[in-house]
Symmetry: C2
């Protein structure tokens, strides 16, 4: 598969976002967000989505020149209007506020309305973790999850993310859709020509399907836990909790009113997002060492299959990131390269330079 140097991916993303209408600093911040996803191996949220962001700007759905504003503020809280700015612009603005409040008052809790897609939720949680804080980020999204017992979708993949530092430069990074699997994983199975496990999605007959194409077309992902008997209502409950943090607090659209994200979208999605930072130094001394001891305990557990060691949430992503760093390149499917060759031509940007 085609390989592209990391700096070249960053260059192409930045120039494409600038060509779409973003000022350079906003384009750089947003490109860093997308690049991170590809580096850690979550390709669905990286270059894969660049065209959607470019189109959103060209269609006026996203105003990349807009700056978010604080509408209301107290010691530990802030209510923000994202003003339809680029995802990274609002998310960075909000998490910076949460970080500042956590350092000053112990906790910062920020909810924003009129947001656009902010990429991988975990990227924003990690921003707080780098300040020695517990970080959390949530977003609602378009309806793609079927509540337990329902025929149709009303909830988003509504992710939960949480990151915190551990001693010795270690960290815990939780970043998960509250659906059993993200639609990106269904697409991967289509491309591989392999079935999906029962418990990921319902077909148009409202029964679990193992056919990824049927699952994709049906747009009915099951909540984490799958069917009711294996506690799928818990994934649905988590998604509803995220909805309250996002649209409930901020006044953004609830997921069931958010339009699906398409290449021809005309209306701003008015997503709700929520950013939290907590300062562990306000509690018992030795936080980092306790977290480290826990993480290392899990990693040292005897695995069922010796070739599959027990991991800690975030370990796989760190391994991918390290591989990308050592290689200095990112590998993309040919189809994706082709797509972006066309985009480059359409928006007048120098095409991605693929290595020989």
């Amino acid at each position: 598969m085609p390989e592209v140097r990391v700096e070249e991916v960053q260059r192409f993303m930045e120039e494409s976002l600038v060509a779409g209408g973003a000022p350079l600093p906003e384009a750089q911040a947003h490109a860093a967000l997308l690049l991170h996803a590809d580096l850690v191996g979550h390709f669905s949220h990286g270059l894969n989505r660049l065209e959607l962001y470019v189109n959103d700007m060209k269609n006026g759905v996203c105003d990349a020149k807009a700056k978010p504003v604080i509408l209301k503020e107290s010691e530990s809280t802030a209510w923000v209007d994202g003003c339809n700015s680029l995802g990274a612009t609002t998310a960075s603005f909000c998490m910076d506020i949460a970080i500042r409040k956590a350092k000053e008052y112990g906790v910062g809790w920020v909810a924003a309305k009129r947001c656009n897609h902010f990429g991988m939720a975990g990227y924003w949680a990690i921003k707080a973790e780098r300040h020695g804080l517990i970080g959390m980020a949530y977003t609602n999204s378009a309806p793609i999850m079927v509540p337990t017992r329902a025929k149709n979708s009303s909830n988003g993949t509504n992710p939960i993310s949480m990151a915190c530092p551990a001693a010795g430069g270690d960290s815990l990074v939780v970043d998960m859709a509250t659906t059993a699997a993200a639609m990106g994983k269904v697409e991967v199975q289509i491309k591989k020509g392999e079935k999906i496990p029962e418990g990921w999605a319902l077909g148009p007959d409202y029964k679990p399907t193992t056919d990824p194409q049927v699952a994709f077309d049906s747009s009915r992902l099951m909540p984490l836990g799958g069917p009711e008997e294996t506690s799928g209502y818990k994934g649905y409950a988590l998604s509803t909790m995220v909805e309250v943090f996002c649209s409930g607090l901020s006044g953004a659209s609830p997921t069931h009113k958010v339009p699906m994200w398409t290449y021809t979208q005309q209306d701003p999605p008015n997503l709700g997002q929520c950013f939290v930072a907590v300062d562990p130094q306000r509690f018992a001394p030795g936080f980092g060492h306790r977290v480290k001891e826990c993480l290392d305990h899990y990693r040292s557990m005897e695995p069922i299959d010796p070739s599959l060691p027990v991991l800690v949430p975030g370990d796989k992503e760190k391994q991918n990131q390290e591989s990308s760093r050592l290689r200095g390149t990112i590998v993309y499917p040919q189809g994706q390269i082709d797509t972006y060759m066309k985009l480059a031509q359409r928006i007048g940007v120098k095409p991605l330079q693929v290595l020989d």
Copy 2:
């Protein structure tokens, strides 16, 4: 099955806790917690556990006369030493602090060490909800969840709970173990002589089992999501997140060092617990109406099976509570009544009066 009047259950619980060594106000608060579990239909956390609490006091594991203390405090945070007091004593103390801080500064985040079992996590989240706040409560517990890929248990059922008010007296109540199912549900299947679904538990051969007795003896519950292919690592991730909130912040024992809760336990479990309150009034006006609109949207969705309407997290518990209220009684299995007849004799309390 035997029926007992609600007031009689409360009387018996209170007197048993007092006989165990609790001062009356602490016994009343703890009995109210256990009674709530039975009223909402979570029988595993109600009368079922009374004997464990009584024994903990008699064995010196729990010091029901102790009062929790604040060790460190800032605007939005508090670190508490539970001093091994009764579960409801510490939980109530901590959630009151979180509520006060949320009202004053927007958010209250409280972590406590040296805690005993605090019953249903949701009970404490609801305490904040009754003040118009978003409430959250977490606890770690004894190791009973197998991390994805591991042979043995290291994580607790580590529940996540969250409650918030909605317009018209409505509310959302999320209260869930981060395992696929609680061990109490496995026990129910043993009593019914029915299998458990695949995805709840591993047997001693580290493979999923559908035999509830094997699952019970093996003590290897699977995380929410089940096996790795249906994202069981997400349930494991959530449990680890809860661990950080509980033992990480407070300095309590991490779950993998917590002793199993038995009738002959000798050492205090030193559980970690975490209580959060957030004031929605610090954000966009109309919070209660937005949440209500979401909940009603879900409830109005067309169900796959018309006899099984789509519910909102907490609806089933409210229905059970209303039935109990109308009936004025709680129904227990004969085996449980027999157990408590023996307890009454052992600790010198007037036995439970069962209705004819």
